[in-house]
Symmetry: C2
Subunit: 356 residues, 2 copies
């Protein structure tokens, strides 16, 4: 990546970064490649920002994110010291790697999963071992066993979209009494089991949530961790060793307004779920097989045309979906669920490409 011909070049970090979905600037592009929510944030978010005292924005934010943490504690029915807030869930996970994965033994995660995990392992020199998902992309919790440096699994998993239930999580926790187990529930509001209730019983469990998906707040960068207060204390100490003021005042104010508008969250996620289930059926009629989704995206493969070809043809039509040039999923497309209208445009495009 960098030239190595300078006297200081040996002191520079060599690393392959995470590559996010493209962010095209053209307004006519249909963006179904970053699992954003097609609906705007709650109107209460805008109202909260507009009523801010702008003359006070010269001051540092509350490093303890106290107001938002109080609202979150009430929402999740946990105590305030069981909540941590960071600059998006990627920040929270990165800090969690530094806080919880300090071992010579490898951490464990699925081979098909969020591709950032490997990047953090590289950044922090964290040893890891991937465990293959089975032929229908399911994770077996009994394969996450024995000495390890920690476990991190998204539930629902991405990009598979498959969610697992309470028994799965309990088994995983029972198998890993000596390590920190992180469940990354980025997509959980779209319809599957959340393990937040288990943090009282399993003091080694960390749940990660994001405001970027169900809450339509990707632009604000809010992610949270929910765990026993001892783990939250370690996460706070690491955060205060990295960047004490990680969350801007406007973002924490906006996030608080979102948390306090539960009805809007329910309504927006219900719309996405309904569109998703309809879209899976419509895709099937075109020869696509999709995995059972508990998320706001669909992982799907066509019975005839290669995923890469469809990806490129869709792009020509101004429709951006996600294609992973990675083992096991390289014949799948990951398609974010948009509005019904967005899905009409997607399906029209696919029909054209497939000559139907």
């Amino acid at each position: 990546m960098n030239k190595l011909d300078q006297p200081w070049s040996d002191k520079l970090r060599k690393i392959d970064p995470y590559v996010a979905g493209e962010q095209p600037e053209n307004d006519n592009i249909l963006k179904l490649n970053a699992n954003e929510n097609p609906y705007p944030p709650s109107p209460k978010v805008e109202a909260a920002i507009r009523s801010l005292d702008f003359a006070k924005l010269n001051l540092y934010p509350d490093a303890g994110v106290s107001g938002l943490r109080s609202s979150l504690a009430a929402y999740y029915n946990v105590s305030k010291d069981e909540i941590f807030v960071g600059n998006g869930s990627d920040d929270v996970i990165a800090l969690s790697f530094m806080a919880f994965f300090n071992s010579d033994k490898p951490i464990l995660f699925p081979d098909v999963t969020y591709s950032f995990y490997k990047v953090w392992c590289s950044l922090f020199s964290t040893p890891y071992k991937t465990i293959p998902v089975n032929n229908i992309f399911r994770i077996n919790p009994d394969e996450y066993k024995g000495p390890n440096g920690g476990v991190i699994i998204p539930n629902p998993n991405a990009p598979t979209s498959i969610g697992e239930g309470r028994d799965f999580i309990v088994k995983l926790l029972e198998n890993n009494r000596d390590s920190i187990v992180i469940i990354d529930e980025a997509y959980v509001d779209f319809g599957d089991y959340s393990a937040v209730e288990l943090i009282k019983e399993y003091k080694n469990l960390v749940i990660i949530h994001t405001f970027s998906k169900s809450r339509s707040m990707a632009s604000f960068r809010i992610g949270i961790a929910i765990a026993d207060k001892e783990l939250i204390g370690v996460l706070e100490a690491v955060k205060n060793s990295y960047n004490s003021y990680a969350v801007s005042t406007i973002s924490m104010t906006a996030a608080k307004a979102s948390v306090e508008d539960e009805a809007y969250l329910k309504e927006a996620t219900a719309k996405v779920i309904a569109t998703r289930d309809k879209t899976i059926k419509r895709l099937e009629a075109l020869g696509f097989k999709s995995l059972p989704s508990s998320t706001n995206f669909i992982l799907t493969a066509h019975d005839r045309l290669a995923a890469k070809v469809i990806f490129e043809e869709l792009k020509k039509l101004g429709i951006y979906v996600r294609y992973f040039n990675l083992p096991r999923v390289d014949n799948y497309l990951r398609i974010t669920v948009g509005t019904d209208k967005d899905m009409d445009r997607l399906l029209e495009g696919l029909k054209k490409i497939l000559g139907k």
Copy 2:
């Protein structure tokens, strides 16, 4: 910090975090302990936020921070690929440690300086060596020489408030041709030499600026690095290995409006400088000796009363200044320059404490 009686306790990070100035919630408190600017951000910041399309805040921010970087490139007269933007300058420095300080040799910084540097060394296991400032708190660039893992110096230095000129920086760079030299110019807008012009000549020089001081935007979390494009490329790669979307859409929009309002910046900093210079004289009349300040704060010691006592007595009066229980500076107070009215209240308080 954490109990060590759980089976996973050995995997938790043990670390002493940075401790920031207190953020009291009471409105009647005069906060002179975090070097915030007493004036609000440019009115154009508020206007830019109010005219945002809130319905689009469901989308991820531009990870490349393109619009703001273009404005910054024009402002600093550098090219866009010589600019990096992060989530406050603490984030930028933390990423810089990971990007540039990868050596078994110690990095060098002054013994009296920003206390976060040691915390990052601990977090990233970066070896370091501190070099004592002299008896009048000046840094000698000829003591920063010989094999090292890198150099980081604030200019002006904090908490000493002393700024050094072009010759100092050039000597430092000439002495360190084989390492990355970071100059943390957090306070430079309050009156001293900025080394941005030197990045063309010294391709191992990294300049850090913040929006939290002169731009009155601490709540927004914007920090930047300016350096040769190769170094910026490494910083980008590390950022994209930590948290790709580090800066919120609103913060980058607000920061862009601030950069484009140079007149406001000049006016606000001129007011702070005028108040600072008056305050140093008024303090002198009460028996305080202050270091020559090129910043928006004053490091000062009284000829009779201990700094810790004054700190505590001021607190009782609702006036928060910063006291460091650290070698060499434990008889000094660091006082942020507020408005003229703020300084009147401070001086009244001091007179009371000193019985004058």
